[in-house]
C-alpha cells in the first residue's frame, strides 16, 4: 500500500525554507536594483557571535551598596537632628554606631527621660515607614534600624540605578550591542559585555572614575593633615562628620594634600542634577555649569539661604574638588570651578548629565579577548565541525549503505535548522557553542543509529520491509525520547548556572537536539516511506 506523502514533504520543505531564511536573511536574494550579499557575509550578518569569537571585553562589577545605604542613613541622621532641634527636644548625639558593617543602624543618645515619649512619637511619626524604632521608655537612647524590606529595595534600586548610569555612559562610547545587566550569580553584581572593545582602560575610567559627586557642608578645615584635623576637634571626629582629602582646589586656596571636615549627609546628591554643560566663569576659568532638579533645587535653596557665609565642598569620588563660600541663596543653578583640563570638564559634564553612580563599583572580574584570538577560534571551531561532520557522514554511508544517505540528509537538515534557529532567535554563538554544534552531530546521529539498528533486527527477524521500518521507528522512538529528555535536562541546568560562553554551549546543544527529533525521526521516516513507495514486492531495504 502506498502512502501519500505530499503533505509531509510540503511541511518539511516549508520548515527548511524558514530556517534557511533564518540563516541567510533576505539580503542574499537578488532583488532587482540590489546586489545580493555574498553568502559568507549574509551568514555572519545573521548569526550573533559571542565575545569569545568576535573579541571584546567582559566585566563583572560589584556595586558597593552599603555606600548607598550609608548615604541614605546619613541623610536621615541629618533630618533627625533638624527635626528634634525644631521640636525643641534635646539630645546629645545622633550617629551610626557601625557604618561599615551595619550601615542601616542609627543611634540617638542623650535625650531627657521625661521627654522620651515625645521623642519616640516624633521619630515614629516621620520615620516608622522606613525604620524600626526601638528604645526609649526608661532609657534615654533610641535605635533606628532600617526595615529589611526597605533595605532590600534600596539595594535593588541602587543596582538598577548603577545599571542605568553605566548604560548611559557606555552609550556615549558608541559600542554596538553592549550587554549591561544584573549578574545573577552574586549579590549586587553587574555584568557588562562590550563587543569589539579590547582596550579597557578608556571604558573603565569612564565607568568608574567618578563614582559619586555630591555637595557637602564644610564643618571645618582646611587642615594640613589628619592629626591636625583631629587635634582641632578635640581628638574625636564627630560621628556625623567625615574627613576628606582635597585635590588642588582653586576656590579655596589650598593644596591637594589639605584635609577638610565635612558633614556626612550631602546637600546635593549625584542624582539631583538635571543638566550640566562645560563653560567658563567670568575670569575665563573652565567650569561646569549645572541645573538641579526641582526637588533638589528647593532643598538647596533652603540650605543656602540659612547658611550664607558658610562653606560648602564639592566632593568627587572621595576627594574634595572645590570649596566655595555661600554668597547668597541659590536655587537650582550653579557652577563647579576647579583646576580642570578641557577633557575633565567634558567628562565631568557627561558624568553629571548621566547621573552619578549611586555607589562606587568594584571590579570582580574582567576578561578581554583580542579580535585575533576570536578569529582564530572561529577558524578552529569551523574546521573541527567540518571534519567531524564529514567523518560521521562518510562512516554512515559505508556502514548503512542506502540508508546512510537518509541519515546524512537528516544530519545536514539538522545543522541547517540549528543554524537557522540561531539566526532567527538572535541567540549568541560562542566557541563552546560551536562545540555544542559538533556534539549535536555526534549525538544526533545516535537517533539514526538507534532506528537503523532496530530496523536491521526486524529485517533479520524476517519482517517485510515496510513492517520492519514501522517497527524499527516505533521501538526506537521510546528510547530516543528518553535520551533527548535527559540531555536537555543537563543542558537546561547548564543554561541556568552558566555564564556567557557556557550558556552558548547549552543553547546550541538544546536546539540541536530538538531539531534532531524532527530530522532524525520525522524527516527520516518520510524518506523511508518515499523509498518504500517506489519499491517492488520482493525488494530489500538497503541498510
Amino acid at each position: 500500500m502506498k502512502k501519500n506523502l505530499n503533505g509531509k514533504i510540503a511541511l518539511i520543505v516549508a520548515v527548511v525554507a524558514v530556517f534557511v531564511f533564518g540563516i541567510l536573511g533576505g539580503a542574499w536574494i537578488p532583488w532587482p536594483g540590489q546586489a545580493p550579499k555574498p553568502f559568507k557575509q549574509a551568514v555572519t550578518d545573521r548569526i550573533h557571535l559571542g565575545l569569545d569569537l568576535r573579541g571584546g571585553a567582559h566585566l563583572i562589577l560589584q556595586v558597593v551598596v552599603s555606600e548607598a545605604v550609608n548615604a541614605e542613613t546619613d541623610n536621615t541622621v541629618g533630618r533627625i537632628e533638624q527635626d528634634l532641634k525644631a521640636a525643641n527636644l534635646s539630645f546629645s548625639q545622633a550617629y551610626k554606631p557601625d557604618p561599615v558593617n551595619k550601615p542601616e543602624v542609627i543611634r540617638l543618645e542623650g535625650t531627657t527621660p521625661e521627654k522620651a515619649s515625645d521623642v519616640r512619637s516624633a521619630l515614629e511619626n516621620k520615620y516608622s515607614n522606613e525604620y524600626e524604632v526601638s528604645g526609649g521608655g526608661g532609657d534615654t537612647s533610641f535605635t533606628l534600624t532600617m526595615k529589611p524590606l526597605v533595605l532590600t529595595s534600596l539595594k535593588k534600586k541602587t543596582v538598577q540605578q548603577a545599571i542605568e548610569t553605566i548604560r548611559d555612559r557606555v552609550d556615549t562610547l558608541g559600542v554596538s550591542e553592549p550587554v549591561i545587566q544584573e549578574y545573577g550569580l552574586g549579590d549586587n553584581q553587574i555584568l557588562v559585555e562590550l563587543p569589539g572593545i579590547d582596550d579597557l582602560d578608556r571604558v573603565k575610567s569612564l565607568i568608574q572614575e567618578t563614582a559619586r559627586l555630591e555637595i557637602h557642608a564644610v564643618a571645618g578645615g582646611p587642615y594640613k593633615d589628619a592629626q591636625e584635623a583631629m587635634a582641632s576637634n578635640g581628638g574625636v571626629i564627630p560621628a556625623d562628620e567625615e574627613l576628606a582629602h582635597g585635590s588642588g582646589s582653586v576656590g579655596a586656596d589650598t593644596g591637594s594634600d589639605s584635609i577638610w571636615l565635612l558633614r556626612r549627609a550631602y546637600v546635593v546628591g549625584g542624582n539631583d542634577f538635571r543638566s550640566a554643560d562645560p563653560g567658563t566663569d567670568q575670569n575665563g576659568r573652565r567650569n561646569v555649569q549645572f541645573t538641579l532638579t526641582n526637588e533638589a533645587g528647593d532643598k538647596f535653596y533652603d540650605y543656602t539661604s540659612k547658611n550664607v557665609g558658610q562653606s560648602m565642598a564639592v566632593l568627587m569620588g572621595d576627594r574634595v574638588r572645590e570649596v566655595a563660600t555661600i554668597q547668597s541663596a541659590i536655587r537650582d543653578r550653579g557652577e563647579i570651578t576647579g583646576s580642570f583640563s578641557p577633557d575633565e570638564v567634558e567628562m565631568l559634564s557627561k558624568l553629571l548629565r548621566t547621573g552619578a553612580l549611586p555607589a562606587s563599583l568594584n571590579y570582580l572580574e574582567d576578561r578581554t579577548v583580542g579580535a585575533s584570538l576570536g578569529a582564530d577560534s572561529i577558524k578552529a571551531g569551523v574546521t573541527a565541525a567540518v571534519v567531524g561532520v564529514l567523518l560521521v557522514m562518510v562512516f554512515m554511508l559505508i556502514y548503512y549503505k542506502g540508508s546512510g544517505i537518509n541519515a546524512d540528509l537528516a544530519l545536514f537538515l539538522n545543522l541547517v535548522i540549528l543554524l537557522g534557529f540561531m539566526g532567527v532567535s538572535g541567540a549568541t554563538l560562542t566557541l563552546p557553542g560551536i562545540a555544542g554544534v559538533i556534539l549535536t552531530i555526534g549525538m544526533g546521529v545516535d537517533s539514526n543509529v538507534l532506528i537503523f539498528e532496530r530496523i536491521r533486527e526486524e529485517v533479520r527477524a524476517g519482517k517485510a520491509p515496510s513492517a520492519a521500518v514501522d517497527q524499527g521507528f516505533a521501538h526506537a522512538w521510546v528510547t530516543i525520547v528518553d535520551t533527548h529528555v535527559t540531555t536537555i535536562v543537563s543542558a537546561a541546568i547548564l543554561f541556568m548556572f552558566g555564564t556567557g560562553p557556557v550558556k552558548g554551549f547549552a543553547v546550541t546543544l538544546t536546539f540541536g537536539l530538538l531539531a534532531n527529533l524532527f530530522t532524525a525521526v520525522y524527516v527520516s521516516r518520510v524518506i523511508f516511506d518515499a523509498h518504500l513507495n517506489k519499491m517492488k514486492p520482493g525488494d530489500l531495504v538497503s541498510i
Partner: protein, 321 residues
C-alpha cells in the same frame, strides 16, 4: 556492513573484572586528588575561572624567550608570575599568570603591570595581547559553588526523570554510573595535572547527559525484554539486552568519539581541556552503562532475593508514549 551480529557475551559474568577496573581508576584518581589537596588545597588544578588571579595571553612577533620575559618581570619586581609557552611553538604564544589578588581593588593592576613591563624591558619583540582574564576571589568562589551545584542538580534531575519513567532503582543505578564517570574524568584531570576551567565543567555536565543516554538505551531494552520474558533469570535478560544494544552502543560512541576527537585535534587551544574531558568521558561513559549500571540492577535484585523479598526486579513502568 555489520560489526556485531548475534553477539552473545556474558557481560555480567565479568563483573569482577569491571569492578576492579573501575576501582583502579577511581582510586588512582582519588589518591591523585588527595595529593593535590595536600599541595594546593583543591583536589584538581583549577583554572583562573575558579582560582582567581590574572592571566595574560600574549602573541609575539618573533619566537619569545621565556627566560628574558622572566628577567623583564623580575626587573620590575613582579616575582610571583608564572610564565609558560602556550599552544604550538610556531604560534609564539606565552601565557603569564599571576596568583589571586586578595584585594579586589588592586585586581586590575597586575595585567597593566605585565604589559607595561614587557613594553619597557623586552622591547625588541613586539607582541599582541590575545586574551586577558582577571578574576577576583569573590567570583571564583561563587563559580566553584555554582559548578558543584549544577552537577548535583543535573544528576538529581535525571534521577527524578528515570524514577518517573522506570523505577527508582533504575534511576539510582544510572546516577551511580554517572557519578562514577564524573569521578574518573575529574581523576584524569588530577592525574595529568590539567586545569579545570568553566568550559571543562560544561563538558562534564555534557558527559553526565551522554553517559545517561547510553545507560537509558540499555535500560529501555531491559524493560522491553523483561516484559516479554518474565520467567527468565534477570541476569540473562540483562545480558541479552546489552548484547542487543551493543552494536548501537559501540557505533554511537564511536561516532561521537570521532567528532570529539576532531574537536580535540582541530578545535584550538581554547577548547583543548574541554575536548579532553569529552574524549575521556565518552569512553568511560560508554563503559559504565555496560559495566556499572546494568550489573548494579542485577546485584540489587540478587540482594533482595537473598533477603527473601520478591525475587523479580519490579517490572518497569510502561513507557508512556
Amino acid at each position: 556492513m555489520e560489526l556485531f551480529r548475534n553477539v552473545n557475551v556474558d557481560w555480567l559474568g565479568k563483573k569482577w573484572y569491571f569492578l576492579s577496573f573501575s576501582l583502579i581508576f577511581s582510586v588512582a584518581g582519588i589518591i591523585s586528588m588527595g595529593m593535590h589537596w595536600a599541595q594546593i588545597g583543591s583536589p584538581v588544578p583549577l583554572g583562573v575561572d575558579f582560582k582567581g588571579g590574572t592571566q595574560v595571553e600574549l602573541q609575539f612577533v618573533q619566537t619569545p624567550d621565556t627566560n628574558r620575559i622572566r628577567q623583564a618581570m623580575d626587573a620590575t619586581g613582579i616575582k610571583d608570575a608564572r610564565i609558560q609557552a602556550y599552544d604550538a611553538a610556531s604560534k609564539n604564544e606565552v601565557l603569564i599568570s599571576l596568583p589571586e589578588q586578595q584585594n579586589e581593588t588592586s585586581l586590575d593592576a597586575g595585567q597593566k603591570q605585565i604589559v607595561d613591563t614587557l613594553h619597557t624591558n623586552y622591547a625588541g619583540n613586539a607582541f599582541n595581547v590575545r586574551n586577558v582574564s582577571v578574576v577576583g576571589p569573590t567570583v571564583g568562589k561563587q563559580l566553584e559553588k555554582q559548578a558543584l551545584l549544577a552537577t548535583l542538580y543535573s544528576m538529581a534531575g535525571m534521577l527524578i526523570y528515570l524514577w518517573f519513567r522506570f523505577q527508582l532503582i533504575y534511576g539510582v543505578a544510572a546516577v551511580v554510573a554517572c557519578f562514577h564517570d564524573t569521578l574518573i574524568t575529574v581523576g584524569f584531570f588530577a592525574l595529568l595535572d590539567k586545569e579545570i576551567s568553566l568550559t571543562v565543567i560544561a563538558a562534564i555536565l555534557t558527559l553526565v547527559g551522554y553517559s545517561m543516554n547510553d545507560t537509558i538505551v540499555v535500560f529501555d531494552r531491559i524493560r522491553e525484554d523483561l516484559r516479554m520474558s518474565r520467567r527468565e533469570a534477570l541476569s540473562d535478560v540483562v545480558n541479552r539486552a546489552i548484547n542487543q544494544t551493543l552494536s548501537r552502543t559501540v557505533l554511537t560512541s564511536g561516532l561521537t568519539f570521532l567528532t570529539v576527537l576532531s574537536l580535540y585535534v582541530f578545535g584550538g587551544q581554547v577548547l583543548r581541556n574541554f575536548s579532553f574531558a569529552l574524549v575521556v568521558g565518552i569512553l568511560i561513559g560508554t563503559y559504565s552503562s555496560i559495566a556499572v549500571a546494568a550489573p548494579m540492577l542485577v546485584a540489587w535484585q540478587e540482594w533482595r532475593a537473598r533477603k527473601g523479598n520478591a525475587a523479580v526486579l519490579p517490572a518497569a513502568k510502561r513507557a508512556r508514549v
